[in-house]
């Protein structure tokens, strides 16, 4: 049995330009969101005088570290709106970017293990269906049909009592996605500037005028933050305090295995989310480390717990080998929903707080954030995710009855 080789990347990806003295738009953060925003600014709004500034290597943060789950089966209308918009973009993204992003709509199962899980899950399914999102409730035997290796034995500690199923959900290959956006952005003439850390943001009369970087000062008409876990650090440069906490989030991968796992399985109660990627490796996410941290590493007892949970649901994984673990930095908000919109500083825009869920939103938020930056007004899909909601109390709380927030 031979593994499935990945498609080749194109022969050319991007230039490595030196920064110019000024740009119409400077995007801070060359991850998936920053690159997608640049792309849609050019494509949808005709703005190409853009620099994307990345302090390390492009898409080397959470974009390179996530478990690539894509789904839109969120509880609240506001969430399902933006995530479903994103999912629809995913469905044509490969052609749009002309890049083999390996978007695979293999479905996602969100398992229920308690009677309250069942109520919450069914509530989400009903809401999803009325929002036009494919979702169904599966009984345990139906779960086993979708994913035969899930242990549905009723005698385990937390038996599988059923699951929600979104067939259109799936996974994609993260680097390919990021590089697809990057290549397109570069082709529009957008400057992707690596090893360029933003050290200051200049504001004059309440209006942003540029950024200071390790590669010199850059003037900017507009500045769009897309720094994920480092957003608080960036916002602090203009004295903006945000309801964000940055935490390590770990993930891991096994060796290449013959196909055993046809879908994506997520469990809140037993805390597992796992898929088998294209080449055959199991890709699995662990729980979030409890403390604030920018170290891109987490504690090992989280991984051990994760392994125990995985074997509860998938006894066949017993002798799969953990090949590699790593961690990203996730910026979490009090209501487990993102913040995308305007700031008190004129022409300074904010996209952050995606916590563990940012990858799936990449095209969707790129689209909406580009709209926000280009027009100075939030897109209807990101309007509910304004910073002001923490003052009014109009939260979009995806903790409680919602699915696992990954």
């Amino acid at each position: 049995m031979t593994g499935t080789p990945l498609p080749d990347h194109p022969d050319f990806l991007w230039r490595n330009p030196d920064p110019k003295r000024s740009y119409e738009v400077v995007i801070v953060g060359g991850g998936g969101h920053g690159l997608a925003t640049a792309y849609y600014l050019a494509k949808n709004h005709g703005i190409t005088d853009i620099a994307v500034l990345e302090k390390g290597w492009l898409a080397g943060g959470n974009m390179a570290r996530n478990t690539t789950i894509i789904r839109s089966n969120y509880l609240w209308d506001e969430s399902s709106g933006i995530y479903e918009h994103s999912l629809k973009l995913w469905e044509t993204l490969e052609e749009d970017l002309d890049y083999p992003i390996l978007f695979s709509q293999r479905g996602v199962l969100n398992l229920a293990h308690t009677l309250q899980d069942i109520r919450d899950s069914r509530r989400r399914v009903h809401a999803n269906q009325l929002n036009g999102i494919d979702a169904e409730w599966l009984e345990p035997d139906e779960v086993a049909k979708v994913c035969p290796i899930v242990n549905i034995d009723p005698d385990v500690r937390y038996p599988v009592l059923g699951a929600t199923y979104q067939p259109r959900a799936g996974i994609a290959k993260h680097d390919y996605v990021a590089w697809g956006f990057a290549r397109r952005a570069d082709a529009y003439g957008i400057d992707l500037i690596q090893n360029c850390e933003v050290t200051g943001i200049d504001v004059t009369d309440g209006r942003v005028t540029g950024v200071r970087t390790t590669r010199g000062d850059i003037a900017a008409g507009k500045v769009a933050l897309a720094g994920a876990g480092h957003t608080s650090v960036l916002a602090e440069m203009v004295g903006l305090r945000l309801p964000l906490q940055s935490h390590p989030l770990q993930a891991l991968v096994s060796e290449l295995l013959e196909p055993v796992h046809p879908t994506v399985v997520m469990s809140n109660a037993v805390h597992v989310y796992v898929s088998q990627a294209h080449k055959g490796e199991l890709v699995m996410g662990a729980g979030i480390d409890s403390y604030n941290g920018y170290g891109q590493r987490g504690a090992f007892h989280i991984i051990e717990r994760q392994m125990a949970a995985a074997l509860e649901l998938f006894p066949v994984f017993a002798r799969a080998h953990m090949l590699r673990t790593w961690a990203g930095i996730v910026d979490t908000t009090p209501d487990a929903s993102p913040i995308v919109g305007l700031t008190p500083v004129e022409n300074l825009y904010l996209n952050c707080g995606w916590g563990t869920g940012g990858f799936k939103a990449t095209p969707g938020v790129g689209w909406c954030y580009a709209h926000t930056v280009a027009t100075g007004e939030p897109h209807p899909y990101n309007a509910p995710f304004a910073l002001s909601r923490f003052v009014t109390g109009a939260l979009v709380d995806e903790h409680g009855a919602a699915a696992v927030a990954h």
């Binding site: 650090v233 906490q245 940055s246 920018y294 504690a299």
Partner: protein, 90 residues
């Protein structure tokens, strides 16, 4: 997994502790006097620095006491721990 020096029990494994976020954010003396913005700041907004951070921990599987710590969020290393109400000691 770090060793955390509980100021009451000494060094213990990180798994015994519960994290409590930013330290020194007192419950407002008169919440009713705050405007919505001020109240939101208390309820939802916390510092999130990269570097030294004054925060709270609780020795959940031990003495169950809350204590303050100064920890570097960039390295995750504890710089100091001290009992509630005491001044930080390096």
């Amino acid at each position: 997994m770090q060793l955390i020096a509980c100021p009451w029990c000494g060094e213990r494994e990180e798994a015994e502790f519960h994290y409590g976020g930013q330290a020194h954010v007192p419950y407002p003396a008169k919440p009713a006097d705050l405007d919505d913005e001020q109240w939101a700041q208390y309820v939802f907004f916390r510092d999130n620095p990269k570097g030294p951070f004054a925060e709270r921990w609780m020795h959940a599987a031990g003495c169950r006491r809350w204590f303050d710590a100064l920890r570097d969020t960039a390295t995750h290393q504890f710089l100091s721990v001290h009992r509630m109400g005491e001044e930080p000691r390096a």
